[in-house]
Amino acid sequence: MAQILLKNLRKTYDETEAVRGINLDIDHNEFVVLVGPSGCGKTTTLRMIAGLEEITGGEIFIGERLINNVPPRDRDIAMVFQNYALYPHMTVEQNMSFGLRLRKVAKAEIERRVKHAADILNIGELLERRPKQLSGGQRQRVAMGRAIVRNPEAFLFDEPLSNLDAKLRVQMRTEIKKIHQRVQTTVVYVTHDQVEAMTLADRIVVMNHGIIEQVGSPQEMYEAPKTRFVAGFIGSPAMNFVPCRIVERGAALGVRLSGDITLDLSAEQSKRYRGYLDKEMVFGIRPEHITERRQHTNENQLDFGCTVEVLEPMGIDTMVFMDIEGVEVTARAAPKAVSNPGETMMFTIDMNNTHLIDPKTDKVV
């Protein structure tokens, strides 16, 4: 239930710089998700907050307290590990109560809290079992139960769902969200799955190579990514990136993707991109913003034609792959409206949802 403040946090292992200066302000009861590719320093950051990893530089505050040199047991946080880290020799009940017993909490109080957590998590019947006798999903719940009974200032999760099968993962994801709504607490949640990040987070922190690329609400991250990395990382299927050139189109500007395809920019966009005239840029657009030809709903929608290479039906939509100047571009079309591979198909593209990236800085301009 506390704020967590990271100030210029750094961590260096012998040679590797795992975390290279992170600044983050996490609010009361906020659900913050650290997301990023493997090796970007998410776990390291989380473990520094937990106190399991020494801090090379910078400061961490929980509430008002500087906790750089406070041992984990005095930080009042609880952590759920990727492979649960349940004590194999203890029953579920003992696993959950271990922290409370160490803290000499009264017996009746321990019982009450364990029962309360077991109710929330629906594991009342499992209390006498040992971890070995539980399924993956049940272990996951017990691990969360161990955190809940502690009633800590903050919960830390390190990829808690990555050991579950796809279906259970979706189920537990919803469950975690529900639990957070019931047990109001600050949560720092690490994952490399951007869908998990989008669905769970109040705020997403995208990390890459030990630094924060961007912080924002899921919607902001989706609509207004600030870097090529974030644009490509958030959203599934991933955004298309096509090398392009900004060209003059009468009074306005256009984006030339290939000899055949040049897309007009709106007056407002033309003004914004004026400085990039005749420059090589990268044009970014999500598959869902290229559809089969449709009635236009705003004046910034354009039609263009292209040869269909491959179709991937997904049920509700069909992914259409085409080739623009050697770059694979994906569109998302209604299954009934797609043409066969090899044929030319007409598409509608929504220019309001495009992003222009400067390849020199990889920033969205």
Partner: protein
């Protein structure tokens, strides 16, 4: 298929091949060599030993059956009772020391530090050196007059530093160190010391292997749950290493209980039988005095005790496996 046609008589080779394809037959065939070796080298000497313990065989005679006569005699003899008690005492104390120190050493070695691997290898040294050699070295170190122990003590005495010097002055007089192997109360301690020194690496390395199977996550979890170093050891390390520890301890009890080389080289059971163990007594009676029947009886006396220990271990392992 032409069923009417009688198949040609199968050749010997073919019949053999068919037989071997039967799993039951093949199983026995594969087991036979091992079984044969066990019969020749273990079962036969064992049965012979049991038989001899029931005879009054003396070297050179064939001996006659005297039932439990040897055992009767043993229980009436002081030296046997002393040796039995010594063996129990020796085994208990040595095992306790080895287990506690071994665990301590393993925990230390399990930490990350420079040269960890070399240090771990070095710890194994006492285990690798042949017991006879290392024990001879200890024999030399224990020597009352010329050895390094007493030389050091004497040196301390001459320096007259601290309480140590005073104790030396009062009890052992000027210039004389203790008779490590000659003094009745020190001899047993010395023998135990050498046994602990020799057995420690086995404990430490086995425990270390056990420690390394404990997932580091559990210690992280315990850290966050609020456990201090000692609590982590008590609530996480110890319970998780228990299965390994039981096996190691039981194994060590069996080996220590039947220890022979150490005592034989250091004291030969002396002084005044203070360090006589069942194994050395059996040897002394059987080989030294040629009273083979009696020697066999002493040796066999260890059997039920060790069997009980091993059965306990098997029972425990099976129970752990079920859990």
């Amino acid at each position: 298929m032409q069923t009417q046609q009688t198949a040609p008589e199968p050749s010997l080779r073919e019949r053999l091949v068919t037989a071997l394809e039967n799993q039951r037959v093949l199983g026995y065939v594969l087991m036979a060599p091992a079984l044969l070796l066990i019969l020749i080298f273990i079962a036969y000497p064992f049965v012979l030993g049991v038989w001899m313990s029931l005879t009054d065989k003396i070297v050179g005679t064939s001996g006659t059956f005297i039932g439990l006569g040897n055992y009767d005699k043993l229980f009436a003899s002081d030296i046997f009772l002393t040796a039995a008690w010594n063996t129990v005492f020796f085994t208990t104390i040595a095992t306790i020391f080895k287990a506690v120190l071994g665990m301590w050493l393993a925990v230390l070695l399990n930490r990350k530090f420079r040269f960890a691997n070399i240090t771990r290898a070095t710890v194994l040294l006492p285990f690798i050196v042949p017991t006879v050699l290392s024990t001879l070295a200890w024999l030399w170190m224990f020597d009352a007059t010329f050895s390094v122990f007493n030389w050091t003590l004497r040196w301390l005495w001459q320096m007259e530093i601290g309480i140590f010097g005073l104790v030396l002055k009062e009890n052992w007089g000027f210039f004389r160190g203790p008779l490590w192997l000659g003094d009745p109360s020190l001899a047993m301690a010395s023998v135990i010391l050498v046994n602990v020194w020799r057995g420690l690496p086995f404990f430490a390395i086995s425990f270390l292997a056990g420690l390394q199977t404990i997932p580091p996550d559990l210690y992280d979890a315990a850290d966050i749950d609020g456990a201090s170093g000692w609590k982590k050891f008590w609530h996480v390390t110890l319970p998780l290493i228990k299965p390994v520890a039981i096996v190691v301890i039981v194994f060590s009890i069996v080996v220590t209980f039947a220890d022979f080389q150490l005592v034989y080289i250091l004291t030969r059971g002396g002084p005044n039988n203070e360090t006589h163990l069942l194994a050395t007594l059996a040897y002394q009676l059987g080989m030294g005095s040629g009273n083979i029947g009696q020697g066999a009886a002493v040796a066999l006396f260890m059997l039920p005790i060790l069997a009980f220990v091993i059965i306990f271990q098997l029972w425990y392992l099976r129970r752990e496996g079920v859990r």
